[in-house]
């Protein structure tokens, strides 16, 4: 589900800019080795970020990055990526 604010932006601009923080992800997650976020169920991405933040999910760099986002921000980012065509 895309948040209401994102949908509104999509209408005004003709394409949806990601929520804050969401644009940086594709620097790594673009389909060459790292998990693809586009089209991935939001619950999966949220669970991964929660696990990285808590230190319960093995990581190289994501444990350090996930700690920079609140659960609410993570949910918005995950929801936005879920709505992007893979």
């Amino acid at each position: 589900m895309i948040p209401r604010a994102a949908l509104l932006t999509a209408v005004l601009l003709g394409a949806a800019a990601p929520p804050p923080g969401g644009a940086s992800c594709s620097g790594c997650h673009g389909g060459t080795g790292m998990p693809l976020l586009a089209g991935r169920p939001a619950a999966d991405t949220v669970a991964a970020l929660d696990g990285f933040r808590a230190g319960t999910r093995p990581a190289t760099v994501m444990s350090r990055i996930a700690k920079g986002f609140t659960p609410t921000e993570s949910q918005a980012i995950a929801a936005w990526w879920a709505g992007v065509a893979p």
Binding site: C28, M34, E73
Partner: protein, 451 residues
Amino acid sequence: MTGVEHDAIVSDRSSRSNSVFDRAIQTSGDATSGHRALTRRAAVAAGLAMPFVAQGQGKARVAIVGGGFGGASAARALRQYAPSVDVVLIEANETFTACPFSNLAIVGVRPIEAQQFGYRALAADGIRVIHATATDIDATGKRVALSNGASVPYDRLILSPGIDIDWHALPGYDEAASTRMPHAWKAGAQTVLLRDRLAAMPDGGTVVMSVPPNPYRCPPGPYERASLIAWYLRGAKPRSKLLVLDSKDSFSKQKLFQAGWARLYPGILEWVSQSNGGTVTGVDPAASVFKTDFGDHKADVANVIPPQRAGKIAAIAGVADKTGWCPIDPVSFESRLVPGIHVIGDAAIAGAMPKSAFAANAQAKACAAAVARLLDGGTPDEPILINTCYSLLAQGYGISVAGVYRPVGGVLAEVPGSGGTSPLEEADDFRYREAQNADAWFKTIAHEAFG
């Protein structure tokens, strides 16, 4: 069929005129200081009085100067976020040579061609790519003057000019000196020159590298380069040495680098800190000598990583301050000095964010979203930005530093408790996976920026 233009004249749909600017173009595009001051004052006044909204004049126009990771990413993000906006990318070179991973090219294990990208995918996206040098910017009339005599009108301008070498900062090091003592800090011919010098050096030679004070492009880059040169010497010329003369006492990922060096390159790589006399005060290119307050160091192969500043067009546009870099608003990336001009990438003063390709790409997308919103008459959202920088200590041995950044008190600050470096105590498998991640990152970011 592509949209790439070479000598095309860009039409001016708005037919705005500015006689001061026209005169500046006629005098070869290198503006006088009087004209510059006038332009800047007028720009500030105009920016405060009437933020431009492109209504009733056709499409809004965004010009982007610089086709590196920042500029190319910004252009493509704008096409995505604001498809109705006319996007023009101005870049002198038809081929971009990327700096990340170019240290592998220096030691001969990666072809320079693997670093090179063109602009066809951008043209296919509907971005107008003009291969010319931006020679002047009129912030009042909102036009970019080009080396081919044309000019490009804009509603908002994004500058992503990267770095220029500061040829006056290190005594003895000018452009001619860089043919004898390559910097290889802008990838391309300089990278190949340093590679060829290393390859030609007899075993038993001494490589000397100098590292400038902060800030400069890619904070951990000199230490990755030192690692990989040591790796090359260990395998190909084991009686040789590498001396790293540093203007600093501490550096990015220092503990990880030094732990790796002690294990991998004992007796080959020597790092000399500022406190131990590492600061290079001048060079003698004819003799291939680095000068310090503690004596001279003669090099068989010299690599001077010189002091830098924002790419030249930033100073011409008036967006660079006395430091040589560009202060920006951390929400919109709009210049603090000239309204209507946004600055991203290495040229920007981005608070705690380092000057890296990852940062330039992240800033480009945040800036594109802000510009799209501003052209739509809205207010940009506060961005959150990520940076990740990988360094290789050897093939298959990678380390990283990561950070998450938000605007706090007018600057981009690191989010407390986030980010940091790879753990110091980790097995080789962790280092191997980070090297693999580095490789995947480069492929991904290059694909996002250049297709």
